[in-house]
Symmetry: C2
Subunit: 470 residues, 2 copies
């Protein structure tokens, strides 16, 4: 009966009644209110969701928004406007500078098979790679599986050659991020390692479990100025072909790229904020990264995380929820090749003595959410685990679980503030089909899956805000 009366009073008033009800947990009304609030969040996300439309616009009007590019800055201004359209949210740009790596206009490669035939191969220069000379590089190919193998082969076998890293991602790992983690050292550190032993260029098998013709780019990191050689990703189909040719004889490759770094450029992050009504100094952050690789729309990586983060603030506003704590959505710049956005944000936050009570990152694709990963290798997690775990039953009815693991590249810069670091954990099966390749477009995003991720984050934000973690 009392609940019936509650229904007719307006939401704003209800919050105060509910605040009092929390003092009466024996009656179970607090739990009821949580159940209703989370139901409201999901209803809003699934009936009136804006995330998919926002993502479509971002992908179609601002694709290839690599940090430092002009289109990135335009994307940031556009998303600031989107944020500012939400009542009660104020959106700003946060100044940030990042090295601008530009793919250039010409990249090509072919191999000369043992038969003498030229076979074109699909390549993408790795982010951060230097260019080849204008006439390209032609050299013998040597296949390796690991960085250790390069060391073992030594300078006598490596010098003057193009080193071809070809260890596939392990398809038997159930969560594909584990397979990625087990293979990506080849892309990040392989070229530099090959250069140490005198290689003239490096080609790396794409980081995907699919066998297809799409190369997948991604960052490579040179140990120092002396270990810079051109580095390119090759599609898995071509990687298999090259490996097959090598079984029959000597293979020569020609690679050409005119990619280059163009120096430091303006690349602001976007911040939207709702000031907390009771504990404004306790910040709850939801974020993703706005930059993408230059060869795609950056739909799953990470337009999805950006629009979901903005959607969290829109959902909570739309259902009339006024947060006790300060809520921020942050669309970080330059996650893909430098993390300048995440570092800058943390530096400014630390300088202002801010405290991020919790920071949730969505940067694993806009797929069906399976739950949240809590960064568990900190004393913080151990301290608050029990309290957080009490919320699990509320989320389990939405098919969500709690896991331990990494949170996200951007929010991890906030570790010193000793708040909870959390990552949305979507289903990972399709992520590396499209990751860092031309296939990462809106056509591969499912609207419901995207919306469910936003609703999951909004629900956890609500619980964090309503109860705190202490």
């Amino acid at each position: 009966m009392f609940l019936k009366i509650l229904k007719v009073v307006n939401t704003y008033f209800r919050r105060y009644i509910v605040g009092m009800l929390i003092l009466l947990p024996v009656l179970g009304w607090s739990q009821d209110e949580d159940v209703k609030m989370i139901r409201n969040i999901y209803d809003e996300a699934l009936k009136n969701g804006k995330a998919y439309g926002w993502l479509d616009h971002l992908c179609k009007h601002y694709p290839s928004r690599i940090g430092g590019s002009d289109i990135y800055v335009r994307a940031a201004n556009h998303m600031k406007d989107v944020v500012n359209e939400i009542p009660s949210v104020s959106g700003i740009l946060q100044d940030c500078e990042t090295e601008y790596w530009y793919r250039g206009s010409k990249e090509e490669a072919y191999i000369v098979a043992p038969s003498g035939k030229n076979v074109p191969i699909q390549v993408l220069a790795l982010g951060g790679s230097i260019a080849t000379p204008e006439k390209g590089i032609t050299a013998q190919v040597i296949e390796v599986q690991t960085l250790e193998e390069v060391e073992k082969l030594g300078r006598s076998n490596i010098e003057g050659k193009i080193v071809f890293f070809n260890r596939p991602m392990d398809a038997t790992k159930i969560r594909t991020f584990h397979a990625y983690g087990g293979a990506v050292d080849q892309r990040v550190h392989g070229p530099s390692k090959a250069a140490e032993y005198g290689a003239v260029a490096c080609i790396v098998r794409s980081m995907t479990t699919l066998t297809d013709e799409y190369p997948h780019t991604g960052v490579t990191v040179y140990k120092n100025k002396d270990t810079q050689i051109p580095a390119l990703a090759v599609s898995t189909l071509d990687a298999n072909r090259i490996s097959d040719y090598l079984k029959t004889g000597s293979v020569t490759a020609y690679v050409k790229t005119d990619c280059q770094s163009l120096g430091m450029r303006y690349a602001p992050s976007v911040i939207g904020e709702i000031k907390g009504s009771e504990f404004p100094d306790e910040i709850i952050l939801v974020g993703g990264h706005l930059d993408s690789w230059d060869v795609c729309e950056g739909a799953h990586d990470d337009g999805a995380g950006c629009v979901q983060s903005v959607e969290v603030l829109r959902i909570l506003t739309s259902i009339g929820y006024r947060p006790k704590r300060t809520l921020r959505c942050v669309l970080f710049s330059n996650e893909e090749n430098g993390s300048a956005g995440g570092r800058t944000y943390a530096d400014v936050s630390n300088a202002n003595n801010e405290f991020h009570m919790a920071a949730i990152e969505s940067d694993a694709g806009g797929f069906t959410p399976r739950g949240f990963r809590f960064e568990a290798d900190t004393s913080v997690f151990k301290k608050y685990y029990k309290k957080v775990n009490e919320w699990l039953p509320l989320l389990e009815s939405y098919d969500l679980q709690f896991y331990t693991g990494g949170s996200g590249a951007d929010v991890s810069h906030l570790r010193s503030q000793k708040g909870l670091l959390i990552g949305l954990a979507p289903d990972s099966q399709r992520y590396f089909d499209i990751h860092h390749s031309a296939k990462d477009g809106i056509e591969n995003v499912n609207q419901r899956e995207l919306e469910l991720g936003a609703a999951a984050m909004a629900s956890l934000v609500y619980l964090l805000d309503n109860y705190g973690i202490k």
Copy 2:
């Protein structure tokens, strides 16, 4: 050390050592062996999986395999051959007859908007529908949301009209099957209900949460000979348009279909079997249905369930597992419009006094498996729940959960045998995007997701076989 020795003996021999180890549960070796066996199953599925290749062939060579069609019979013979290629599995066809409903060669529709303009609409006759007269049917459209609304409006409002059922699936349901369950009465019983009140034809909003131009067909059931009127699905986009037009004035529709039932035809189910070594009379079934709607490749519905079921037997054979109990994969005929395959199989099984200890159906799409649904409204489930639940930790590390709910339309005919009835529960978010529409093709199936479903089923089959349920 002992485990190290185990690794060097061959798989066949290992089973017997392992058999002895089960007698020593205090040492924990039995659990270790389960962990290894399930790991082997997943490795085999993800490294050497055949399900995706089989499904591609089935979709491209045997699309539109509706029960009763010639192509269905060819598909059944083909899948019998696939089954027989697995060593130790014997494949047969089980005779079955089903009514053959044929779409005909001509279906079309348009509406006459209040402005007088003809607007073509995308339609598909519902399975089982009768034809219109050759010149089609032209009549005024009346929109309703429920079957009850038809009753309430009564004959005076319905007679002579085309009834338009337009209640959308509820997008706020987290599992889309719940949304389907809440809307599909319009398609199954709506036309017959409209006919009771004198309607001349019926159009039904497609069962999908997407708004797009694809009509989704599916079965409609007439209460009796007197309530047969032509019934067609209309795309959600067109449904919205018709509803919009109706807000501005009177709308007339023209519908035409020459679909018809062509009488009883041969439509065999496919059965593959490995005889059990210790308890051959206890049968464990894995199955899906081989028939599909005639407008698609039937990739997710339910080619996926078929190839996964065959793959279960292939995986267990390939890793050298010899089942104690009899394992059967069954590819049922005619699930979509009559369930003759499921009924016939159960009739024959009951006549032979068989006992299906467990029957697992995969008929919810080849998406990432989230777990298994156990049919819980039986005393059987309550009896064995505790034992089955002990296996959950082994499957949780593969991101699988146990749920209660329906098993599957085909295996539910085996209920009287009082074994466990189980359904594979894949992620449901994308299923109704493609369900019963032209979009249900191989291009919308992800290889890893399909393989994980097969591995999940094979793991549960292994546990059921190894431990029984008593």
